[in-house]
Structure formats: structure tokens, C-alpha cells
Amino acid sequence: MAAETGSGRSLSLSSPGRWIESLSDTQFAYLLLTPCLVLFGVIAFWPLLRTFEMSLHADLLYGAERIGPFVGFENYVELLTGERNAALPRPFFDSTQIFTSALTVTIIFTVVSVFFETVLGFGQALILNQEFRGRRWARVAIILPWAVPIVIQGMIFFLLFQPTIGFLVEPLQQLGVFSSTPQANSVESLVIVIVADVWKTSAFMALIILAGLQSIDRSLYDVADVAGASKFERFRTITLPLVLSSVLVAMLFRTIGAMRVFGLIETVSSCSTVPSLSCLVVQAFSSSRYASAATVAFVTAAIIGLVVSVYIVKFADVQGAGGF
């Protein structure tokens, strides 16, 4: 009996086994990816679709229901035409309030912070790529800010610019850079948030660009030396083209991160003073305007998607030109 049962079990096990064996490599790869795709579908796409569906309903402030009746694209129209601004803590976009409109604040923050992070990160990576004594310690020093938790980083910059506590307020006021209450002013607060972000995240850029630099074949530089290329020519013809794809990947990550900025603003300043798109989502949500929150969230996701696609097109160009 035991033998019979055993052979029966091996028979039943062997048929899916045989089916798997008969799959081509591509089919097998897709089979392995299926659980992952199903999981993604559940935890990523379903909430995305649900958010979109919520954004097509009206806000409902009374009663147990969370959202009101179906209103189509009314929320989007009102958000983009500025009619919804009153219900949001700061306007989505208002050309007369560049530094207190969520869209423009997010764009300014993203462009300025990613620019400085790329330039500084590139510089740091070039230095770290050199052979010198104490290079290991220099690497640690540059990467250290990246390891600081966002709340601690936020408190550092919050306290630095607190009157009577921070030591930077008075000297910067005397130099005419800031007022005596920089965190009560949207422009100055935005500058502080950008500086805080650059301080921390340049290290991240440096890390990824350094990885790109390390993968460049050293013999190319030997060839350049033989050909008598100057340092600048070596950089322009070898380093830059070969590291560009790494730089673009790093910039892509940082751009996505910068467009979603929220925690840093909340800890260093406040969403009321420096409103980002994510700030609007959180604040609309916490005042029970779930449909408005979903609408801003979806528009934010669409804007990020647009920016990402620009990078991906650019990335394909670089890869094509690089002959990979």
C-alpha cells in the first residue's frame, strides 16, 4: 500500500514538473515573473486604479460614506482651472503666487535641488575616483549625510534657522541674505529646504556616479595618453559619454524623489509655508476631502510619469549613441 501511495504521489508531482520542463526559456521566465506581476497588480496597480476612481467622485464631508456621487472629470477641471484653490491649503497653481503654489514650488525645488545635487555629486564622485591616501575616510565623510535619518536632518535645519536657538540666523541677517525670521517666509524657507536636500542627497548622486566611473575601462585612458589627449579632452571624450547613463539614472531617481518631497518640508519648515504637491495630497486627505486628495495625487503621478518618460527617451538616446 505504502509503495502504491508513494508512486501515485510521484506521478501527480511529475506532471506539472514535466510541464515546466517543456517550457521554453522565455515562457519559463514569464512563469517565474507571474507571482511578482500578480503581487504588483494587487499592491501597486489596484490602489492606483482605485485612486483614479475616487478622483472621479465629489468630496463628501458629512456622513459615514467617504466619497460623494460620480462627477466625472469635474475635480480635474476645477483643480487645473484654479476653482479648487480655496478648498486646498495653498493653490495648486497661481501665477501671482509662484512661491506659494504647489506646482511651481515643486518644480523649483526639483530643478534647483537636482541641478546642485548632480553637479556636487559628480564633483564628489570624480574626487573619490582618484587614488589618494585616506580615500576610504573621504568616502565615509561624503556618504555620511545620506545615512542621517530624515527627521534628524529636519531638526538640524529647523533649529539652525530658529531665532534665539540657531547660530545662523543673525549672521545671515547681517549679511542681508535672510530676514530675522526665515522660516516665516516662503522664499527663504524654500531655499532652506533646498539646501537641506542638497546637503543630504548629493552623496546619493556621488555613489551612483562613482559606480559608473569605476566601470570605465582604464585602458581607454592609456590610449588617450598615447594619443596625447589633455585632461579636459579625456573627460569630454571618455569619462562623460561613458558615465552619462549612470548620471541620468541617478538624476532620474532624484527627480522622482524630489517631485514627491513631503517629509523634509514637514520637518524643516511646514507645508503651509512651502507647499509641495504631496503636501496638498496629505492636507486634503487629512481634512477629509478624499476625492480632492485623490485628484491631486493622480495629477502628481501623471506629472512624475511625464518627467520620467522624458528621462527614458533621453536615456535611450544615450545608450544608442554609446553603442551599447
Partner: protein
């Protein structure tokens, strides 16, 4: 043959892979089940979402609850929660929206309990324990109870402790400048803003103190709900006309932030910060507050006062406990009601004028999804006991929610806080709750932004208040109950039903 071998090995790998995957799945799921089952607690432990004060003193609080009648087999476990009240609101919102069974009880800020009530996310206590609701509605401070009542007078929690804005000051400094707080009875006879600012200015100059008056004017909820509301109320003004409009009806009440009393209050604060401003309020002394108030909240404004750099300081009673301690200013700390701009008789809007304090505080509400409802209600019943309220005043400085307890000798005997009971009673009696409706979260943001900008000199007070009026009106219109969705609900009705007592 080599390719065939290769295929064979690949097939074996695949088979092993599938087996390994199955085994991993089993292990993971059993592990997860273990984690989930460990999460449950005993049937008699009631979780309460509270703050660090409660968590650190939970043993003593629980012992006292047992002493006043809570069954000994019910234990209390406290979740400290985040420090910021706004973040805690968001956390509760997520928990209650997710229909979580725990925690059974929530400590809720009176500033945002009403939106939870309007969303049917809390249990109406008056439905299941009418006698408990009656006791509270008859014996507690009426304006405080209002912030946990529904539209039809139902009570959605047990008021725990009220807090009110008070003016702390340095008795030693004002005496040195030649003033006599005792003789003039500052503790219970409010000063006018004119007198207050003159005293402050003279004391600053006579004692060489760096700043005169500190308060909270950062662009945050505390400015809209409290400081700015006190300033405007003391000048006889308000955000929404007469006091009866505090809780609605949203969309139908007037917006009155551009009226003279509100503009005058704004000009007064502007004058305190920068005397050479355009169009200062000439009746008050200028330059008594640092520009830094524009960035200060409670703690950031209290520290300079505790360090001895400030004569007068507006804050909540917790600051009295700190600054009045023997190792701080001790008996040199004075406390007085908030000064007034016009008397009640001369107020533009009914119910305002005279000394005006903002009313804050915390309630304890019941989670409708809790399977331990009976035990949780027993805890709530014990919280109504006067003995427990006096104990919490002693332990944590929480003011009792019952006016009658302010008359007791025991309250006066409490170290530090006991010295200021008369003033505290007066501030609670003259307090106004914040105008919490469904529109308040958006409105308070706009009020704080515009008041902060006006104080900083970014636009004139009247320009800023005009802009604010337009913004508040737009929010009122966007928050009006729609017929289909409202289910008969408006804002909060100011009138209580007859069954509510009071």
C-alpha cells in the same frame, strides 16, 4: 550531447526551484500566522491611544481608576502616539477609516473631534449610557462639552480636561518696575491691552529685559484656533459673527474677519512687533514683542520666557506647571487672564469682548469597532469620578472639567498649580471653543497664513483680512452640506436638544 546535458541540469534546477518555492511559502505563511496571533492581547486589557504623559504614568492612573470603581480585572494599556496633535488626528483617521478594533479608546483633541462625529466614526454615549451623558452635560463646563456633541445633542465621548489660554508674567520684574499685581488684583481683574502693553514696556525698560511679550504666531493651527482668536475676541470681533455661529450652519453664517475689531486686533499685534509700521494702533505701547514670534509655537515661545528674557508670555496651563516650579520662578511667576480690547458691552459681536481665552482640551472617545465595548465604557465611567479628576490635576496639571471642583480646598492645596486656581477658573469660564466644523481644517490654515502674513508686515492688516474673508467664504460655500449627501446634517447646531440637559 552537451546541450542535452545542459537541458537536463536546467530541468532539475527548475524542479528544485518549484519545491523550494513551495517550502518557502509554507514557512513564510506559518511565520506570518504566528506574528498575527501574537498581536492579540487578553480580553480584559483596554488599549487607549493617548500621549506620553499617560503612558509614563499609566500605573498610577490605573490604580486610581480601580480605586474609584473600575473593576480590578480591567487593565489599561496606553499608546503614546505622536507629539503633534495634527499628526495624531491623521493617525486616528487612518485607524478608524480602516475599521480597526484596537485601540478601544481614543484621547481626542477637542479641536478636531467634531469631524469624526460628523463622519459617524465614534459611538454616541448618550444612546448607551444616558445617565452618564446627563451627568456630563449637567455638571461639566458647557462650552467644553459642546466640542464633543453631535448635531442633535448626543455625547460622543467623555471630556477629560480643558485647557485655556492664560497670561504668565514675571511678578519680580513688574514689582521691580514699580507695579503691584496683588494690590491691583491682576489675578482675577483683567487688564486692558493698553494698560498691559504699557506695563510691559515700562517693565522691559526698567529691568533691562530683552523682550516684553511672547506668544505663538507661527503659521499653524495654534495661531488660528487660539492666539489670533483670543486677540480678535478681546476686541469684540470674531471670524463668523455672533457666538451662536461658532459651530455653523456652514455656508449660511456671515464671515466677519474684515470687520473693525478683527482688523484692530491685527494692527495691535503688528504694533507690538514693529512700532514704526504704517497705521499702528496708537492706543497700545509699541515694540514689545520680538519678530521671532512669527516662527514660534508653544515650546519655542516658552523657552525664552523660562530663560528670563521675557516679561509676559501667553501659553497653556502646562507652562504654569513648568515655570511655577520651585526650581524655576516659583512664587515669582504670576498668572492673569488675557487682557481685553473692549468690554463685553461694547463688543461688535454678541458673546465677545472682555477677557477671552481659547478653549482647548482633550476628550476620551469610544471606537465603534471595539469588541470590548462594555469594559471600555466602564473605564469611561470611572473617568467621570471627581476624585480621579482631582488626582489628574495633581499628577499632570490637567484642569478638571467640572467647575464645582475649582471651589474645593483640595485643588488649592496642589503644589504650584493650586496657587493659580482662581485665575484658571476665570479663564475657563471666559473661554470660547474654536469654531470646529467640517470646513475648519481648511479655514484654520487660511486664517493662520493670512494672520501670520499681516503680523509680519507682508500686506496691510485690512488687505490681508479682506483676502481672508474671500477665502473663508469660498470654503464655506464648498463645504455646505449637499442635500443628497448630508442626510439632514448641517454644521453643528448651536442649540442643544431638551433631552441633553445642561
Amino acid at each position: 550531447m552537451a546541450p542535452a546535458d545542459g537541458d537536463q541540469s536546467s530541468a532539475v534546477d527548475r524542479r528544485r526551484f518549484v519545491k523550494a518555492l513551495g517550502a518557502t511559502g509554507l514557512t513564510a505563511s506559518s511565520g506570518l500566522a504566528g506574528c498575527l496571533s501574537r498581536g492579540s492581547t487578553g480580553p480584559q486589557t483596554i488599549e487607549i491611544a493617548a500621549n506620553t504623559d499617560v503612558q509614563e504614568n499609566i500605573g498610577e492612573i490605573q490604580a486610581k481608576l480601580h480605586e474609584v470603581g473600575l473593576s480590578n480585572d480591567i487593565e489599561l494599556s496606553a499608546i503614546a502616539g505622536v507629539q503633534s496633535s495634527g499628526s495624531r488626528k491623521q493617525q486616528y483617521n487612518r485607524w478608524l477609516s480602516g475599521n480597526l478594533e484596537q485601540p478601544a479608546l481614543f484621547m481626542m483633541d477637542s479641536g478636531w473631534s467634531i469631524p469624526f462625529i460628523l463622519r459617524d466614526q465614534l459611538v454616541d454615549i448618550s444612546q448607551i449610557r444616558p445617565e452618564l451623558a446627563d451627568t456630563i452635560q449637567q455638571e461639566y463646563f458647557e462650552s467644553f462639552v459642546r466640542s464633543i456633541e453631535g448635531q442633535s445633542g448626543g455625547l460622543y465621548g467623555v471630556p477629560l480636561f480643558p485647557t485655556t489660554g492664560t497670561m504668565l508674567y514675571r511678578k519680580d520684574l513688574v514689582r521691580e518696575a514699580g507695579f503691584s499685581p496683588e494690590r491691583n488684583n491682576w489675578a482675577t481683574e483683567p487688564l486692558s491691552w493698553q494698560r498691559f502693553s504699557e506695563v510691559t514696556k515700562e517693565t522691559m525698560d526698567a529691568t533691562d529685559t530683552r523682550w516684553g511679550f511672547s506668544f505663538q504666531a507661527n503659521s499653524y493651527e495654534g495661531l488660528a484656533c487660539c492666539d489670533f482668536k483670543e486677540f480678535t475676541g478681546s476686541w469684540g470681533g470674531s471670524y463668523f459673527g455672533k457666538k451662536a455661529n461658532l459651530f455653523g450652519p456652514v455656508g449660511e453664517r456671515p464671515v466677519t474677519v474684515d470687520s473693525d475689531p478683527v482688523v484692530n486686533a491685527t494692527r495691535m499685534v503688528r504694533t507690538f512687533i514693529e512700532g514704526d509700521t504704517q497705521n499702528p494702533l496708537s492706543s497700545v505701547a509699541a515694540d514689545i514683542s520680538p519678530r521671532a514670534v512669527l516662527q514660534w509655537q508653544e515650546e519655542t515661545s516658552r523657552r525664552p520666557f523660562s530663560n528670563g528674557s521675557v516679561v509676559m508670555h501667553r501659553n497653556w496651563p502646562y507652562a504654569i506647571a513648568i515655570a511655577g516650579a520651585a526650581d524655576a520662578f516659583g512664587r515669582d511667576l504670576g498668572v492673569m487672564p488675557m487682557p481685553y480690547g473692549v468690554t463685553e458691552q461694547n463688543a461688535t459681536y454678541e458673546g465677545y469682548g472682555g477677557t477671552t481665552s481659547s478653549l482647548g482640551g482633550w476628550h476620551v472617545a469610544l471606537n465603534p469597532n471595539s469588541p470590548k465595548r462594555a469594559e471600555a465604557i466602564e473605564v469611561m465611567e470611572a473617568m467621570v469620578e471627581p476624585e480621579l479628576q482631582l488626582f489628574l490635576f495633581e499628577l499632570l496639571g490637567w484642569l478638571p472639567p467640572r467647575p464645582a471642583l475649582f471651589e474645593t480646598e483640595r485643588m488649592r492645596q496642589v503644589p504650584v498649580m493650586g496657587r493659580y486656581v482662581e485665575t484658571l477658573k476665570m479663564t475657563v469660564e471666559n473661554s470660547t471653543p474654536r469654531p470646529v466644523t467640517v470646513a475648519w481644517p481648511q479655514q484654520s490654515t487660511k486664517i493662520a497664513q493670512q494672520a501670520n502674513a499681516a503680523f509680519s508686515g507682508d500686506g496691510t492688516p485690512s488687505q490681508r483680512m479682506q483676502t481672508l474673508k474671500e477665502q473663508l467664504q469660498a470654503i464655506e460655500e464648498a463645504s455646505e452640506p449637499k442635500d443628497a449627501a448630508a442626510g439632514g446634517g448641517g454644521g453643528q447646531s448651536p442649540s442643544r436638544t431638551t433631552s441633553g440637559g445642561g
